[in-house]
Symmetry: C2
Subunit: 194 residues, 2 copies
């Protein structure tokens, strides 16, 4: 693989280290995780250093893992919010100032690169993901558009909800759901077995 056009560093991490970590964490190397790294890089550079970095991703696919690998924002620590909008875009912002930068994989830019376009624009042809990844590593920085944005409010919900023990299952749940937990209110995704 011709690695001469790869950036030596990607979003502040040694590129090879990032690829190694991404494969380990995500389970395999995907075009989405690699493209996501370029979004993180573009938004982060334009935003500049922030002690209070938050992230919003606009898709559940691949992109959240790039953010979790390359920023201090994880789903479980609350600094990463996830919207299931199906858009390959993210915003990094400072939760104190609410100033941010939104970055996205720009279809007009992607269209110039046949293999990446076949993957990203879902042209229905079978794509060789390894070659798409190699292409992305070569031209990724050219495919991203970004713009400064301002949030109306931090998306992290900092309210602490009172909890109670559910009278039906005996587990704790937030009382904002009412008299019982959501599972006992009929929304369980499971049924008992054995």
């Amino acid at each position: 693989m011709d690695t001469s056009r790869w950036p030596r560093r990607l979003a502040g991490m040694d590129t090879e280290d990032f690829l190694h970590h991404a494969e380990e964490f995500h389970g395999h190397l995907s075009p989405g995780v690699v493209a996501g790294a370029f979004l993180v890089e573009a938004a982060g550079r334009r935003l500049g250093p922030s002690e209070h970095l938050n992230a919003v991703v606009e898709t559940v696919v691949c992109l959240p893992d790039a953010v979790q690998l390359l920023t201090p924002c994880t789903l479980g620590n609350g600094f990463l919010q996830v919207l299931d909008w199906g858009k390959f875009a993210l915003t990094l912002y400072d939760r104190m100032t609410l100033a941010g930068v939104r970055a996205w994989l720009d279809p007009a830019r992607v269209a110039r690169h046949e293999r990446v376009a076949a993957w990203y624009l879902r042209r229905g042809v079978k794509v060789d993901k390894e070659r798409v990844i190699a292409d992305l590593l070569g031209v990724g920085r050219d495919l991203v558009s970004s713009r400064p944005v301002r949030l109306e409010a931090a998306l992290k919900d900092t309210a602490r909800f009172p909890t109670a023990v559910c009278p039906d299952c005996g587990e704790t749940y937030p009382t904002r759901w009412g008299e019982r937990c959501l599972a006992c209110a009929g929304r369980a995704y499971y049924r008992p077995a054995e």
Copy 2:
């Protein structure tokens, strides 16, 4: 800190390694991540090895990071689903057989341990999180209940939605949302700046 009662291994990982990784990934060590590790361990042991492991967490707080650290399931690879139910519980299941084990931090068991109870049952007293973590490491295995469950269907959405370029912003979006993307349909969480 008295580490003599800590398990040497936790959910298949050396306990000290896990604590180190958790601090790095999550940003700090939290009782929730440590308690989450005991849930992963309990569900995983009872389920047994699975080549097709999926996870569901029933809260967005802390628990997703324990799963992402200790299993192959991440948000971005689609094997971790996240319900914002506010319940400290998770299910590990095999996405082929749909057989799983659900594990939760059991309030009746937690109630026997004063500091952990003050944290988990939100008794309104100020808790020393480091001491709660130390307590959890000592008695965590006694605090978890679990039961075999069966899912009706895998929660991972494997359908690939057709995408199009939004006529307003020029970005790609899934056409299932209609004529334009959700941001252009009025749900943007940001406004342009500068």
